[in-house]
Amino acid sequence: MSGCSRPRCRAGCGSCEAGDTLEALTHALAAALSLDAIAATAAGTVIGLIFGSIPGLTFSMALALMLPFTFGMQVTPAIGLLLGVYVGGMTGGSVSAILLGIPGTPSAAATVFDGFPMAQQGDASVALGAAVIASTFGGLFSLVVMMLLLEQVAAVAIRFGPAEIFALVLFGLSTICGMAERSMLRGLVAGTLGLMLMIIGLDELDGVARLTFGTVQMQQGVNLLVAMIGLFAVPQIISTFLDHGRVAPFKMPTDVRARLPSMRQLKERLWLMVRCSGIGTVIGAIPGTGGPIAAFIAYDHARRFDRDPGKYGKGELSGVVAPESANNAVTGGTMIPLLSLGIPGDPATAVILGGLLVHGLFPGPMLFRTHLEVIYALYVSIVLAYVVILVVQLWGIRIFVRVLAVPPHVLAVCIIVLCGLGSYAIRNSIFDVYLMAVMGLFGYLLQRVRIPVAPVVLGLVLGETLEKQYRTALIMTEGDYAVFYTSGVALFFFVLTALTIGLQFRSSLRRQSTESGRPEADRAPR
């Protein structure tokens, strides 16, 4: 590419002015596929994967750490680095979720439910393979939607005010009914306990300390990742310690299988991936929502529309595919309000916004007119990041599954250390390590009395947004509740919530009557 004196091309190819779409695309490709841009995107993706896969290290943290490195870079490598971290981090969370039963990121919490049982049944590589393929599918699907429907989706997303987001999150919370396993009552108790835990700490809207008992550490509240590490990992550690010496002596496997999901398995779930990617894209486009909400809704959607919902939670591949395609589709979805309106949907995209601003790029409608080549370079960087993810993760599966060759009790001891360090690393706080231990004991006790842990996590994930949007909606309307029933979007989600709860309640009653009618011998305790 040779000599152009026009200065408007910000993609960094250094050769032109991006006059029309084709020209902009050409120059975006030249910039995004330059050696330094590829290297930066690949490095960012690998860093994101590492941070995402280690419980306690978040990709928002990785993005914040990487931001200063972009200051001296050209625009395209800088964007590539940040997007690589974002996309890699979102995908990496599934690795520890599947192998250790601890979600690396909150977005991977729903992946634990079926991914970890699959690993326990010796199908870790299938789960990991499906997770990375679904993640790539979801990410690229949302990218295509972003490219084709950016204006339309942004127009819909911008209609979501606090009342509509509250209704959406309430609908997300109704998925508790689906996670309640055998008793809806216990599921509701678990969800309420999760919401109660979320209350502790400093109230964001009024700045009031709630149930902190005068301690500074309690003002930080119950960190979501700390709680998840405790709730998911500690009961598992206790269970492994209990099995040690009681079950048959452990034999080191000579061959840990590293096989990928078959084409048939993936083909059967293609339509599910499309649906869940759609869910993820739309939810991602709504500011203030994000990956965890999308993943839980997609998981519940997959379970609800499956012919055999009973197999979920026991190692069903669709239970991995659904949340992974949805949480990665969020990456494209969050870019829609970010690029079209300059609104970051979550902390990670806020850092990316910071990166764009540092390079003099101001997201909004004008960005598409003045720096179209940067937008296209961004699209190419996302595709590149997913190619890197696919290559690195699929190649890495044979290494990842080696973890399972470690005797379970030794792995449990390693997980104790990882739990401690992961909890500490989130906020560099010893208090969080104590909190993780307490949450772990709490999780174990809940399991003992057959209260499911998943709704507790869901309550923790959704609680903050639920309360904040509810209160914001009422503060904005000076306490007028009409805001909730005069909005068509909010009403739609309220009806959906009522339907979900009603249908689940009916099937729960039917199941209970079937079980109570069954002979005693069939009713073995779980």
Partner: protein, 155 residues
């Protein structure tokens, strides 16, 4: 005995304590008609009260999900292991703060393997304690530049 007959009252007690804490510690709304910082926690307390009452009442109804009642009693071994694991995690937090990561980690690994698991393969224990500490240190501190606790007593 049906577990819900004591789980329900436990939830009721928790809900009552929660509501008492909410009303004594969290201030109400600043503007009349708007939900203040107390509204949501109070609502949750009321919901838990209702759920606890429903669970208690339904425990005495004849037709219900009996599978959930059949919870095996915890053995002494289970109680000891659960308490030991919890104690170990609390100790790890304490030691991380006081003696730092480099000393706390091998101590916890040795206690977990020799104390809870009752292993006597000292070579394996030493290798795991040293190897795990070194690997984590290299990964977190050298590679990721993430600070690990150095210990108040040693500073």
């Amino acid at each position: 005995m049906r577990i819900d007959r004591w789980l329900g009252p436990c939830l009721l007690i928790l809900a009552v304590v929660w509501l008492w804490l909410v009303y004594t510690q969290i201030p109400g709304a600043r503007q009349p008609g708007e939900p203040g910082p107390r509204a949501f926690p109070a609502l949750l307390g009321i919901v838990l009260t209702a759920l606890g009452a429903f669970m208690t009442a339904s425990a005495y109804l004849p037709r219900r999900n009996r599978i959930l009642d059949e919870i095996p009693r915890a053995s002494l071994r289970e109680v000891l292991i659960a308490a030991g694991t919890f104690g170990l995690l609390m100790l790890y937090a304490y030691l991380l703060e006081k003696v730092g990561f480099l000393l706390a980690t091998p101590i916890v690994v040795v206690l977990a393997m020799a104390g809870i698991l009752r292993l006597r393969n000292w070579l394996l224990i030493a290798a795991l304690a040293g190897g795990l500490t070194a690997t984590c240190w290299m990964f977190f501190v050298w590679l990721l530049k993430a600070p690990l606790p150095r210990g108040l007593w040693l500073m």
